[in-house]
């Protein structure tokens, strides 16, 4: 009886101490899935939109002939997993490239742009001008130095038809 309790306590503590490792592995696996899904979606929407939709960051293009315009805005919150944050903290002692952040931030920005294009297509826009992308750290955690920080990407643009 006491043996069983000991085993349970041992197993729970083993899982808890290895939690960063679990979370790191789960995060890598889950985010790889997200990125491959995003790649597919980008191909899909690219094949539909690229021919007829022009996308630019310029606001100096000729806007004559436009009969309809609308403000498009998309925001997206992403964050790495707690295990990845822990290992990145270790890595940042030595400096160098933080691969996990690379993946997550790249995913977030591309996803935001993709949704912007989808939103434009839904409203029947034929081109998107003056795209701006902003990045900000959004932390809704109640304590000041919490690890639950996430990064918000905001993409906004004018869609015209």
């Amino acid at each position: 009886m006491s043996n069983a309790i000991l085993i349970v306590i041992y197993a729970v503590s083993a899982i808890l101490t290895l939690l960063p490792l679990w979370s790191w592995a789960l995060g890598r696996w889950y985010q790889a899935g997200l990125v491959s899904k995003l790649n597919e979606n980008e191909k899909l929407i690219g094949s539909i939109l690229d021919d007829k939709m022009s996308i630019s960051t310029s606001n100096k293009i000729s806007l004559l002939g436009a009969e309809y315009s609308t403000l498009l805005h998309v925001s997206l919150c992403v964050g790495p997993s707690v295990g990845q944050i822990f290992f990145m903290w270790l890595k940042s002692l030595f400096g160098g490239r933080l691969h996990s952040y690379d993946v997550v931030l790249d995913f977030g920005r591309r996803e935001a742009l993709l949704r912007l294009k989808q939103q434009a297509a839904e409203r029947g826009c034929t081109s998107i001008v003056n795209i701006r992308i902003e990045t900000s750290v959004v932390s809704f955690a109640k304590t000041q130095n919490s690890k639950q920080a996430s990064v918000e990407f905001l993409a906004f643009a004018t869609g015209i038809r």
Partner: protein
């Protein structure tokens, strides 16, 4: 004004494409400060085990940003404008657990 939705023409370029600006009525702003509730907090904590997109935060921010835009529109509507040009957004972390979403633009009358 509460509960009533106003729809104005908005753009983030210097004019409203296809329209002529007749009169400029100055700066209009809208802002909102939001904190999340504890249920979403716990859910986001679980989601943080795998990372990726945090949908509860995304929804919360979208909802709040729409409210900020709505306030900006009310401001512009009160001045008699029918369009807002050069709209900009800003997000800042004002306190632990709260974010301010702010948007501003120039109210104009177009024809």
């Amino acid at each position: 004004m509460q509960g009533q939705t106003i729809s104005l023409m908005m753009s983030n370029v210097e004019s409203i494409p296809g329209k002529n600006i007749v009169n400029s009525l100055g700066l209009v702003t809208g802002s909102t400060v939001r904190a999340k509730n504890i249920g979403k907090d716990i859910f986001a904590g679980f989601k943080n085990l795998v990372g990726g997109e945090l949908k509860v935060y995304t929804e919360l921010l979208n909802e709040s940003r729409n409210e900020a835009i709505q306030r900006m529109m009310i401001d512009a509507h009160a001045r008699g404008a029918n369009g807002i040009v050069n709209v900009r957004f800003a997000t800042s972390n004002v306190a632990a657990g709260a974010s301010e979403l702010f948007c501003y633009g120039t109210a104009v009358i177009v024809e």
